[in-house]
């Protein structure tokens, strides 16, 4: 129910940072599980981020200063929210535009029809 194909997972890994940055740009602040659910919701369950891939990405972006964190007490436990820093906002724009360019180039290649006569 929660698993997408291994091949898709491999593709996802390469663009995980861009996905996280874009989601945080749209949603101000989010916690880890919320990000996985949001991706699932947007893609109608077609894509599912694995926790083992998401957290290292979030932690790396946090360590690099691209994301900052804040804690809120929810149901008696601390919830860690991630949000974009000033650098993060700039990086989000460039990461998303790079990914869009890449996808459009990929589309060109995939849409190529054999022209050998």
């Amino acid at each position: 129910m929660y698993i997408c194909s291994m091949q898709q997972q491999t593709y996802l890994k390469g663009c995980l940072s861009a996905i996280v940055l874009q989601l945080l740009q749209d949603n101000k602040r989010m916690y880890g599980y919320e990000i996985t659910q949001k991706v699932r919701e947007i893609t109608a369950g077609e894509l599912q981020l694995t926790e083992g891939a998401l957290y290292p990405t979030l932690h790396k972006l946090e360590a690099e200063g691209v994301l900052s964190t804040e804690n809120s007490l929810v149901d008696g436990r601390n919830r860690k929210y991630y949000k974009l820093t000033e650098t993060g906002h700039q990086q989000a724009q460039s990461a998303v535009s790079e990914l869009t360019d890449f996808v459009s180039n990929l589309q060109k290649i995939l849409n190529l029809k054999p022209s050998l006569g």
């Binding site: 926790e51 083992g52 891939a53 360590a63 690099e64 200063g65 809120s72 601390n78 860690k80």
Partner: protein
């Protein structure tokens, strides 16, 4: 459906047994496990099935091989929660250290360099005007100021730990602060007592210009630590 206290305790036990030893990462994982399991239970799974599924996603995580691993574990890939923690710790330590030196370097870039040069010139002037022992106090203040800065946060964490309101005393950010503080304390000790020498002290017998340069370094280090602390270490609560 909310999980029972016993179920939450079981999750907590598994996370701790997985090798997690920092409070911030422990809290984040516990929150994720609880949410993910509650969600799966609401979709018809049992607690056992839901836990297994969530746990597998984490323990199957394979950390990318780093150069150091070749010496550390014979180049074998690493798995599990503890590897997630190792990677987080390595990233944070490396980036914090990089950021700290970057702040220090900024003191020598335009326009901050003007202030840095003025402070440097004043220190060199003072070196010839005031007795040497005053520099000992300036350096001691610069060495201990960062410690006093982080002390309230450490005392608060200790109090929460003693009153059993948190599982671990130290957090990953706390660990990164410790490394920065250990560095300044380590080199601070070298200034007061040169290693392998019983009766030579830079402050007492070293050239005045060197004493002034060391003092400048400590002022810069102390100020940069304050800046780093404000930017990266303060725990924000919403």
């Amino acid at each position: 459906m909310k999980l029972t206290t016993e179920q939450v305790d079981l999750i907590s036990k598994e996370i701790i047994e997985g090798g997690i030893k920092y409070q911030d990462l422990y809290e984040e994982l516990l929150d994720h496990y609880i949410l993910a399991i509650e969600d799966r239970i609401s979709h018809g799974q049992t607690f056992g099935e839901a836990f297994e599924e969530v746990h597998t996603d984490f323990i199957n995580y394979k950390r990318p091989l780093s150069v150091w691993d070749r010496y550390d574990s014979g180049g074998k890939p690493k798995f599990g929660l503890v590897k997630l923690q190792d990677e987080y710790q390595d990233n944070l330590t490396e980036e914090i250290s990089k950021k700290h030196w970057q702040i220090m370097k900024n003191y020598f870039r335009w326009p901050t360099i003007v202030t840095s040069l003025l402070v440097g010139l004043l220190t060199f002037q003072f070196a010839y005007l005031v007795p040497r022992q005053y520099f000992k106090w300036v350096i001691a203040i610069c060495v201990f100021a960062p410690i006093f800065l982080v002390l309230p946060q450490f005392i608060y964490a200790l109090w929460l730990y003693i009153s059993r309101r948190r599982r671990f005393f130290i957090s990953l950010k706390g660990h990164a602060i410790n490394l920065r503080l250990t560095f300044i304390l380590g080199i601070g000790q070298m200034v007061f007592r040169v290693p392998f020498s019983d009766n030579y002290s830079i402050l007492k017998q070293g050239p005045l210009s060197l004493v002034a340069a060391i003092t400048c370094f400590y002022i810069a280090y102390s100020l940069s630590f304050y800046q780093l602390y404000r930017e990266r270490f303060k725990v924000n609560r919403a």
